[in-house]
Symmetry: C2
Subunit: 352 residues, 2 copies
């Protein structure tokens, strides 16, 4: 078993290297049509790599799958308390929501509580990610706005923390702004990585995204699950985020969406969060573990299937939870006429 607490081990080159194993197969009729490769890290809070499938030292961008960690400064600065944020607002600050009417109304309310305005958003306008929500706006002749962006709850939280600290929110998405510097500090202490030297890109919603080894993302999630080696403020903040995610799963993702369905069925001991380009994480408090996975090609369909089978393989789901998530465990593919034409399935490599 590896130990992720030694930072000098984790300078894996950005090379093609050895191919990660095929984790998910897309089957049509009697044949595998497409294949998704990837890596999965299951890590304990002390940095022990409990399970590693594929190259868990390869650097990757955590994207939105790290949002529960990214939300810590909102709590730790005292902003959430000062503005009276409850579970809904804290869940939204960790969310990639589908832009449904209830999400948007709640983000609007969150801005109001913080004394902030929609024109302070720097995340750019995005059509709602939910088809029904998108069609609703189109039918109403309304434009897509920044508040519909799947990250608008996170951005409302970032603006709130700036206002609470007496900082101008202008430029809060810039790496030099105190908002992002606080995020960087939290990322470094939770992942155990020196991110000042890490590759850095710009995320879909304009905030910085730092690369880290997959195993270190899992370590951050393990510390979210069991923060007993962290300072008391951090312990309280992680507890509050876990409680909010478990209490308000709808605000984490949306109607008929994987993140919401899994947390609704299996929370509070299974708290999952997805990100763009095939990333998914899980905070598993009962097991005291953190999970991070990345599909090499960036496909969400494979990330979701790999995550649910990781949860199954780790024994994180009981019988009734497995039953509630049966369609997620064995997704049937239907065509436009409604005929079953195939399925997604895990490979033997996805075994724990």
């Amino acid at each position: 078993m590896d130990d992720l607490t030694d930072p000098h081990k984790h300078s894996a080159p950005d090379a093609d290297g050895t191919a990660n194993p095929v984790l998910v197969e897309v089957v049509r009729g009697p044949m595998v049509e497409s294949r998704h490769r990837g890596a999965i890290a299951v890590v304990a809070p002390d940095g022990t790599v409990v399970h590693a499938i594929g190259d868990v030292e390869r650097e990757m961008y955590p994207r939105s799958a790290i949002k529960p960690v990214q939300a810590l400064p909102l709590i730790e600065t005292g902003a959430a308390d000062a503005f009276g944020f409850g579970d809904v607002e804290i869940a939204l600050s960790c969310a990639s929501h589908l832009g449904e009417a209830r999400h948007v109304a709640a983000v609007r309310n969150m801005l109001k509580k913080a004394g902030a305005r929609p024109d302070q958003f720097e995340c750019g306008p995005q059509p709602p990610s939910g088809t029904a929500a998108e069609h609703e706006l189109v039918s109403a002749g309304e434009p897509f706005q920044a508040i519909h962006n799947n990250c608008s709850g996170k951005h409302a939280g970032m603006i709130a923390s700036a206002l609470h600290k007496g900082e101008s929110p202008t430029g809060y998405t810039e790496v030099t702004h105190p908002v992002q510097q606080r995020v960087l500090g939290v990322f470094e202490s939770m992942t155990g990585c020196d991110l000042g030297r890490a590759p850095r890109g710009i995320d879909g919603c304009s905030v910085p995204v730092w690369a880290m080894p997959l195993g270190n993302l899992a370590l951050a999630m393990a510390r979210m699950a069991d923060p007993s080696d962290q300072p008391e403020t951090r312990q309280a903040a992680t507890a509050r985020i876990r409680a909010a995610m478990a209490a308000e799963p709808f605000y984490i993702h949306g109607s008929n969406a994987f993140g919401t369905d899994v947390i609704a069925a299996a929370g509070p001991d299974v708290l999952v969060k997805g990100g763009a380009e095939g990333v998914y994480t899980a905070i598993l408090p009962a097991l005291g573990l953190g999970v991070a996975l990345k599909i090499d090609d960036g496909a969400s369909r494979a990330a979701e299937l790999a995550m649910i089978h990781t949860l199954e393989g780790l024994g994180a789901l009981d019988d009734s939870q497995r039953k509630a998530l049966a369609e997620r465990l064995r997704p049937v593919q239907t065509n436009w006429a409604g005929t079953a034409v195939g399925e997604l399935r895990p490979t033997a490599a996805l075994t724990f």
Copy 2:
């Protein structure tokens, strides 16, 4: 160099096998974020494999990328002539259109010419694949119908060929229907495969889809490019399909869509056709070659990038065509705020 005319060589097992090379990288900031593997076959009409990248003997489903071949029976039965089909109708019978108003009107006209009705479609209702077209329908409060299905032109052609032959079109998507048996015959003679023993699935639009080695799909495309070893009827039919694709590229794909843009810029000597799950083909008459590629994970973004760099690598594009397709050759990725955050790029494996 391999020879694909020996059918006994092509019983590659449906196994994971050796990993295909990474062909396309998705870059964010200074780092590769996602990677797409795949295989590319470039084949001459005599079955010579001119270039093979990755495993070109692995069986795959050609999906919609084989539509130009699938349209041959429409011409060869005499149906296209009998119903007065011109370039637009023949292009539509090879198309995966975006369901834009002009596509739908033209398919409606095609049905009318053939004396067919929309309720004879068996492809199932699909929202238009073009966002603008989808929003137009939603705004107008109109339901998505089978005629909006990207395959509706192909289906109109299939119904037309049944009517012309005096067959009931009912069940024309079933493998036992004469329409599909004619398609099977054309597939076998053009690919050189005995498809009776091949894995068979159901396509997104409900017609049968037969698996074949990637190289044999490329061979069929090579014979579309240079059918000089084919019977005269076939030679005439391929010429008519090539001419229709080149004359009416809008009807092959749609506004700002890869297939249309490439043919509009580089036709009639470059005729490309995409399919679901990361498949793309090219008919290259001037070079006398056929191309087929499959991205292992099924991603369209990678299939398109791999195709344009294959065309570039084979010398199929001249300077002005390269200039017209510059954004396709080096696609910049922008985020919701419009900031450039990365790009798609070919790897060194994608070299000819």
